[in-house]
Symmetry: C2
Subunit: 481 residues, 2 copies
């Protein structure tokens, strides 16, 4: 299957050119810049043997972005969890997490649709597993992502400590129930998942993804490192999302979480770490040294009151940074362009010197090449480069939200693009055309999501009630308040 997108705008140096981009065998096979460039009518040209012709006129072509951290099944709870910090929010989330693989399938589809329609071609799904139906959960997500055709990186979310262990003990000792599954059984499950589902050629990749230091033993981390080494897979985890986790790490390890993860070997160029809000400068130096990637989830960090990740410091230290939406119950959307915008402009209030602020072109590079680097795939995707996978997106520059014409990338990143994604290709296959997903029936998806849910406004989470007093005490919040 070969095709050529003609006369699309592409970014070059600090400007734009119109270009013809040719695809063969799922990869970019040629990029020919046209003259005359911008704001002139295109040449009439002869067929150069580039296969099907696609008109890119008045459209901007960019590499696909990576939604580098999400939890797809949270979509069932978006909009409903009240303003709470992570530790209490998680309790409510767990109390109402769906327990049906068909729901997992539908929310994976929904996550993929929103990601694709906001410029994403890859999704990293830190997938919550249904107890007792773990492989069925993964199978449901794999089925969804293969049907729709997005490039999927599934990190089954694993832990070996129960939820209450994720809060600092503070002054008092706490008892925690044993986790439902042993560390050994969890690692065996991961190996089974790798053997059954890891298939990069078919667009499905498995990551080893312990939830984070707050709920995982060293044995679990080390087992994941070992599996990652043996199967050449990437590692993924949450890291220091909240100040409570920072406090917990010191209780648990007597050093920072980053120092501990480095010591046990979890930090590698194949490791991506979601959040990274509460790192010290010495921790940042370790991320740079180990070439680990930070996945910035600005919207959930605000929604949950976690804080502002020191993204400008990461960039100055040479740490690779990409963007994620995070799960839709802490955001409460999967619009990647929104996460990129907020994850870019948010940091302007953290450094008076505007020369350090992220420019829209840098945002695009973080979202595309930064995402690819974090998945150890910078050689295969993340830029419009001959030889790389044909994962890219064509934006309609005649959308009202991208008018009047100024700087197309500035409009896309700093604006609020609406119906701006015209077409999306993943691995050379067209998934979106004229703004519509072509590979699945989105109206049917909407009907199913509608039919399986109910409007609601008042639900009570038993677990929040159980742990709130302890949380307020540890965080030094007024108990009467």
């Amino acid at each position: 299957m070969s095709f050529t997108i003609q006369n699309a705008l592409i970014p070059v140096d600090r400007g734009y050119e119109t270009a013809d981009v040719q695809v063969a065998d799922n990869c970019i096979s040629a990029i020919a810049q046209n003259h005359p460039p911008l704001n002139s009518p295109p040449y009439q040209r002869e067929d150069r043997g580039g296969g099907t012709i696609i008109d890119g006129k008045n459209k901007l072509l960019l590499p696909g972005f990576v939604n580098a951290h999400t939890h797809s099944s949270e979509m069932w709870q978006r909009g409903i969890i009240p303003p709470l910090p992570l530790e209490l929010w998680l309790a409510e989330l767990y109390d109402f997490t769906p327990l049906d693989p068909e729901q997992v399938y539908l929310s994976a589809l929904g996550t993929a649709v929103e990601t694709l329609l906001s410029g994403g071609t890859s999704v990293v799904d830190h997938l919550v597993l249904i107890p007792g139906q773990e492989l069925e959960t993964i199978a449901a997500a794999v089925r969804a992502y293969q049907e729709i055709g997005i490039r999927a990186f599934i990190g089954p979310l694993i832990q070996d400590e129960s939820l209450t262990a994720g809060m600092p003990a503070g002054d008092g000792a706490m008892e925690h129930a044993a986790y439902i599954r042993s560390t050994k059984a969890t690692l065996e499950l991961m190996e089974a998942a790798i053997k059954q589902f890891h298939n990069p050629e078919k667009g499905v990749n498995i990551l080893l993804a312990p939830t984070g230091i707050q709920l995982c033993s060293d044995a679990l981390f080390e087992g994941c490192i070992d599996l990652g080494d043996r199967y050449n897979l990437c590692l993924h985890a949450h890291l220091l999302e909240t100040s409570a986790q920072k406090q917990l790490a010191h209780e648990k390890y007597g050093c920072s979480a980053v120092e501990h993860l480095q010591k046990i070997g979890f930090l590698t160029p194949r490791t991506s770490l979601a959040h990274c809000v509460w790192l010290e400068d010495s921790d940042i130096a370790i991320l740079a040294e180990t070439k680990s990637t930070v996945v910035h989830n600005p919207l959930s960090n605000l929604r949950l009151g976690s804080g502002i990740a020191p993204i400008l410091k990461y960039r100055q230290a040479g740490v690779n940074v990409s963007f994620g939406c995070d799960g839709a119950a802490s955001n409460d959307s999967q619009d990647l362009l929104e996460a990129i915008k907020m994850g870019s402009i948010l940091h302007n209030i953290t450094d008076l010197d505007y020369r350090h602020w992220i420019t829209p072109r840098e945002s695009v590079e973080m979202a595309s090449l930064g995402g690819a680097k974090g998945l150890n795939l910078a050689d295969e995707m993340g830029s419009l480069t001959v030889g790389k996978k044909a994962d890219f997106v064509l934006y309609d520059l005649t959308s009202l939200s991208l008018l009047p014409r100024t700087d197309p990338i500035g409009l896309l990143i700093l604006g609020r693009p609406t119906n701006a994604v015209d077409s999306v290709w993943v691995n050379g296959k067209q998934i979106v055309a004229e703004g519509k997903v072509k590979t699945i029936d989105v109206d049917d998806l909407r009907r199913q999501l509608f039919d399986r849910s109910e409007w609601s406004s008042q639900r009570q989470s038993p677990m929040v009630g159980e742990i709130e007093a302890h949380y307020r005490q540890v965080m030094k919040l007024s108990l009467g308040g």
Copy 2:
């Protein structure tokens, strides 16, 4: 003209009911709650004489929001100004501000379309005037807003000092050119504008809107107060958007800007103040005491690195707060739902106690009733109340972005609604139906915006070059860096 929206979801107490909302003579004439309520098929009912029937099934009805601070003509420069702090950003903005009333007309239409399609029924346009064509500028905006049918509050942006006076002098004295128009001539112009354009019955209101302490003399403020009193009009200004302005206020007055504005009588229940980022607790007490309104513009405050306005403190002090998009060159959009979301969740990182965080229902009230209060119209609009103006919005709860069904207001405010606005009425007139603006030809607007602009990525602002060194010195930024 009378009509009834049947079976729409409306918020009640902490839940929802389906209701029939009847409109007569541009106002809400009846609200009848139906039983059975949620998640049940609607009754078949007889015609109650409510005029045309509109099906509200699976839709959420909310009062219209107020886009409580914007500058419509900035739309011509959205996406193009690089990451810069306000003082330098303004210099670049002024260097390239459009000078043609037809452009003002088109960008007012564009601002109105985006506001309407994101839940707004009123817009406060702090309108930049074309020198020498001031009344023509206002006439162009009035024409646009009347054609499209949004409720318009136009505050012609006036000042009587030239741009460089807006920066603190720091250690050195600075010379500033005289402003192009005298204070007296400006006030005469405002009185002419009031006489010519202020017409609340026709949906057009004039505000007295000096740009702010950074560029206005006391004589200008006092002239505005006098006109406001004589014609019973609202007052509007920027207030302490940046730390540079805070420094300037102390240089200029020897006290805080808020203390000074109170002293000269500018702070009243008819006064709304955009930004309010750099206020002390004593200033907040003054806003509460004078019943002034804060207009929160979270996106431009981030984009320009201005800071986070202490919105939770305002709310705790009893200060009324509403939301604005601010001009599209500092945002770079006019999506009011985006401003509301960010203006709500941003503050969760400023107070550890989540019991102070803004809930989605509180956000809706701030955006609607809060906006109405800031325009001294709380008796006439801002809630679904019998007797108030029929300014409201029907959201399609079957939009993918509002599925699965959970809490409709949570989904709307915390999510990223896409194509979610189904219908909009202003003053009882339907402006938007099935997601499309009906009163103007939006495709023609797009064509005109396209034809009158060019893609561009590199432009040089002479004024930024002139003032940057002084800015860096005053803000104590490295001069080499």
